[in-house]
């Protein structure tokens, strides 16, 4: 049974409404430097773990 074209259009709109903010959010996040900071924390954490590790 063919669904009305309005349903398909609504789904496209909905998909865009999900993807566009997500893409915009990802772009803003990348520009904000948050991932680099988080990565730096992670590296420090690993380094801290290493300092207590055998053979360090």
């Amino acid at each position: 049974m063919n669904q009305p074209i309005s349903h398909r259009l609504s789904r496209v709109v909905l998909l865009l409404a999900v993807l566009l903010p997500l893409a915009a959010g990802a772009g803003a996040l990348a520009r904000s430097g948050v991932p680099a900071t988080v990565w730096e924390w992670c590296v420090r954490f690993v380094a801290a773990v290493h300092s207590h590790a055998p053979f360090s």
Binding site: Q3, P4, H7, R8, L14, V46, H52, A53, F55
Partner: protein, 518 residues
């Protein structure tokens, strides 16, 4: 003792090695696996969302028009008529929920499969044996799962927000359109009566046929199936509201599903039952009234259906040739309906006039009179009274005149009482209705001395009736109805334009119903 020392040293070395693996291998690898898991989970969930929204997931059940009719899209079901229509639901009124459920279902399904793949029975022992090295994979899988669920949650939140906004906007528009539609109906009195015999249902909202597949749509109001348009099962877009549907779609009766006149539900609807005893001149009066209406309005008046067109042609033929009128069959009548354009009105430039002509037997017999439910819903009525049925007149008239008059043998007062008492028995508020008392056969009556001084004016006819022993009938009528007027009518073609024109009472009745004839 020696064995214990060996075991102790072994366990110590294993723990040291595990700790070293955990810190030097697993911890950095866990970071990488978490990143990969997050990316994979997000991309997978987004792809699944797109897959569901593009209709790729056959697991998402389509909300079909049949399911909508059985209540899948919600909404109240009125007790009197089937109100839920068989049409597609508006996307944000039902199908969207199924799609969001479909996204969750797909994400959970894929995540379970991924976990199931990596946590197979045969691999489980290996993971445990290689424990510290396999920890990053477990962290990657956990992050993959959380990312996927996070995307599903984001889709749900965005959808809920968008749906809420659209419901608020759509709801406001729906109530505004419904309000305007109802106000229009109340102002222009456009509830339409079914003209068909044995139905006569007054439709507050007609059903409309889809021009594509012919299916009757019982509820084309703005709502869950669409604010501006509904979509038929066949895919045809149908405009909502009586105002917009009335322009383009064929209306049908909600009860009997037979065709109504084009524009029914949108145009002002006037129903005029004509009652009176047998041979009182009802049919002739109706013929003459339609004949005069055609002469007065010209092309502005037209038959609204095939049967009415045939009836009007027969009327014209009989009047022109001055043929005698055959007795009306004792069957429930179908209304003769005409569409009349009203040039002075901008918003509602036409009206439908239904005239019901039941056989006189219905006005003489209380039992069969009960069948005529259209009487209950008329705002105006016409009672046709044969003056030759009055004893004083028939005694004075000669045999030749009585023969030509084909006089009614039934008491006018009784034929009035049968119908009006039936209305009151059914709690019809007759004191809110109008009644035209039509004294027929005026051309023959004028030949009698008894009618000397009788002129076709309300007071004169009223006084004459009272003077001929029908004072009780006059008093009853004036006490029963809000407004009563008396008319003297000749149903011959030559009466057009005179005071005895059959159009005069029809004009008054229509004016009482808000329709001014041209």
């Amino acid at each position: 003792m020696g064995t214990s020392i060996v075991w102790g040293v072994g366990i110590f070395l294993y723990l040291v090695a595990a700790w070293a693996a955990l810190t030097w291998v697993s911890a950095p690898l866990a970071l990488i696996c978490a990143g990969v898991g997050a990316l994979a989970g997000t991309v997978t969930a987004l792809l699944l969302t797109g897959w569901v929204f593009t209709g790729g997931d056959s697991g998402v059940r389509v909300m079909t028009p049949e399911q909508v009719a059985s209540g899948a899209a919600g909404g109240r079901k009125h007790p009197n008529l089937p109100r839920r229509d068989t049409a597609w639901a508006a996307y944000f009124a039902g199908p969207v929920v199924r799609d969001v459920r479909g996204v969750w279902g797909a994400v959970v399904r894929v995540t379970r499969r991924v976990w199931g793949f990596f946590w197979r029975e045969e691999l489980r022992q290996i993971y445990l044996a290689l424990f510290p090295f396999t920890l990053p994979a477990a962290i990657g899988l956990a992050v993959f799962t959380l990312s996927g669920l996070g995307v599903a949650l984001a889709v749900t939140v965005v959808t809920a927000a968008l749906t809420t906004v659209l419901w608020l906007l759509g709801g406001a528009l729906t109530w505004a359109m419904r309000g305007a539609d109802r106000a229009y109906q109340a102002i222009f009195r456009s509830k339409t009566g079914c003209p068909h015999e044995d139905c006569w249902y007054v439709n507050p909202l007609p059903a409309y046929r889809c021009p594509g597949c012919g299916q009757a749509h019982r509820d084309l109001r703005p709502g869950r199936l669409g604010v501006l348009w509904h979509v038929c099962e066949c895919g045809r877009r149908l405009p909502t509201t009586r105002l917009r549907a009335g322009h383009r779609l064929r209306p049908v009766c909600q009860r009997c599903l037979r065709d109504l006149a084009l524009g029914a539900g949108k145009l002002t609807d006037v129903r005029v039952p004509v009652f009176g005893a047998t041979s009182s001149g009802k049919s002739r009066f109706i013929m003459a009234a339609f004949g005069s209406l055609h002469l007065a309005a010209g092309d502005a008046v037209e038959a609204a259906d095939i049967d009415s067109d045939r009836a009007l042609r027969d009327y014209d033929r009989d009047l022109t040739a001055d043929l005698g009128t055959a007795a009306t069959a004792v069957v429930p009548p179908k209304a003769v309906t005409v569409r009349l354009r009203l040039p002075g009105r901008r918003l509602n430039g036409a009206c439908l006039i239904h005239v019901f002509d039941a056989a006189g037997e219905y006005s003489q017999n209380r039992e069969i009179n009960e069948e005529l439910s259209y009487l209950d819903h008329a705002r105006t009525l016409a009672f046709v009274l044969d003056p030759f049925a009055v004893r004083a007149v028939s005694e004075q008239a000669g045999g030749d005149l009585l023969g030509r008059a084909n006089r009614s043998l039934h008491d006018p007062e009784d034929s009035y009482a049968v119908t009006v008492q039936r209305l009151q028995a059914y709690r019809v508020k007759t004191h809110e209705r109008c009644l035209a008392v039509v004294v027929s056969k005026a051309d023959l009556l004028a030949r009698m001395p008894l009618a000397a001084g009788l002129v076709p004016e309300d007071d004169s006819v009223r006084a004459w009736l009272a003077g001929q022993g029908l004072g009780n009938l006059v008093r009853m009528a004036e006490s029963d109805f809000r407004s009563v007027r008396y008319f003297l009518v000749s149903s011959r073609k030559g009466a057009y334009g005179s005071g005895m024109d059959a159009l005069v009472p029809l004009r008054w009745l229509l004016a009482e119903d808000g329709v001014e004839l041209p």
